[in-house]
Subunit: 228 residues, 2 copies
């Protein structure tokens, strides 16, 4: 369902080029529970951002559900992001002036064809699944770090997308809450066939993945750090 | 060196009061490596913010290095925060327009009495200790999540304060890098007698603490969750 082919990403910084991703190829099957693992700064977020169409590769191609992202116009990319992909950002990216409830409802409003009763049902269901039903009227700055992370998780899941990209979704959670979130994602994966691609340092997540891709300094490597 | 006495913190939210901290008392000895642990939303950040004079208790007292914080004027609180306490925030709070180097140098400039050569020596030393010497010209949005976390860590340590408050300092780090950061903090604790108070979910940090305070729903509890 996701194919990454010879992808590179470089950033100009003053007079030098920073090579964040240096030629990476892999594919993720529909329904897979997969993880990108590796040291801080190795390129995990950069790769997830390109799969999520939030960033574009400097070289190479990304094919999502059969569509080559470099061939798509802005309008088509937006449609892909809104209907097929859910994204849990490493920095959450919640809307500060909206409550937790409104933040989770937001993508359903953007989709335009979801009636009010169905929006209410889903927002309440996912807030409850992440344990935040009693905090739904809080704004992000009235929530703890782990509570904001869970609002970001509920928002990514509420549209019930085919692919969920989760950038360190348990980083700010205690092990009990992290386990509950992992169980929730596992059950969506097993019951609905949702494809998950995690970027993670959490060994609990890594041990439950069907497939683990190890990144070192912008390249794929095996678990012992040998470059592919 | 830190005494927390019958401290409570409540927030008005619409028509109700949210009781984030419900009567907590403990003391931290000079040179202790201590941890606040507990579920997401249990009040750890709220307590650290009050110890760091970033927030004020609704009830109770906080005494830092012999000074009762409720008795201090703004100018004295600022002096305490700037010279005695280093704070690693859960959300980093870096200055977006400054480079990593400038962010780490910032508190030394605020202190006003640190000559240029000494500032350069210390900023370079701490950036190297957190493994970011080659990234010092990057701004926060040109860094990975774990790299930003490490800039926030270097910035808190560069003034060599008596007390370091660290809110989940390893949340965004892989276990290797997290271990290096923990070793760095351990050595500052053993060699310089720096007092550390962590808020953490990381069992590696918890296992290395001299003292662990367990928080459940705004109150202290023992590790089995029994309220004190
Ligand atoms: N805009 C930018 N300009 C220059 N370099 C950048 C930029 N954005 C990212 N980088 C660099 O790209 C590399 C990869 O970053 P990325 O955020 O993908 O890492 P990561 O694996 O997600 O790390 P972490 O585990 O710390 O979140 C880093 O070394 C970072 O410094
Ligand atoms: N401004 C506010 N208004 C209302 N409630 C608040 C406010 N700030 C925090 N809270 C509530 O206070 C409680 C404690 O928050 P705190 O940030 O201290 O938790 P924490 O232990 O640090 O959690 P985490 O591990 O998720 O970071 C939470 O339930 C939160 O919803
Ligand atoms: Mg990242
Ligand atoms: Mg917190």
């Amino acid at each position: 369902i996701v194919v990454v082919k010879d992808v590179e990403k470089s950033y100009p910084l003053g007079e030098i080029m920073v090579h964040a991703v240096r030629g990476v190829s892999f594919s993720i099957q529909k329904g897979e529970f997969s993880a990108l693992a590796g040291p801080s700064g190795s390129g995990k977020t950069t790769i997830l951002n390109m799969i999520g169409c939030v960033d574009t590769p400097s070289k190479g191609e990304i094919i999502i559900a059969g569509q080559n992202t470099s061939g798509l116009k802005d309008k088509e990319l937006t449609k892909l992001r809104l209907f097929k992909v859910g994204f849990i950002f490493q920095t959450f990216n919640l809307v500060p002036v909206l409550t937790a409830y409104q933040n989770v409802e937001f993508p359903l409003l953007l989709q335009k064809n979801v009636p009010k009763a169905e929006r209410e049902r889903r927002v309440n269901m996912y807030l409850e699944k992440v344990g935040l039903k009693d905090k739904m009227m809080h704004r992000p700055n009235e929530l703890s770090g782990g509570q904001r992370q869970r609002v970001a998780i509920a928002r990514a899941l509420v549209t019930e997308p085919a692919i969920v990209l989760a950038d360190e979704p348990t980083a700010n959670l205690d092990s009990q809450t992290g386990q509950e979130i992992l169980d929730l994602m596992s059950s969506l994966n097993e019951n609905d066939g949702t494809t998950f691609i995690f970027s993670t340092h959490d060994h609990n997540v890594i041990s439950r993945a069907h497939k683990v891709l190890w990144l070192v300094d912008g390249r794929l490597a095996d678990p012992k750090g040998r470059i592919a």
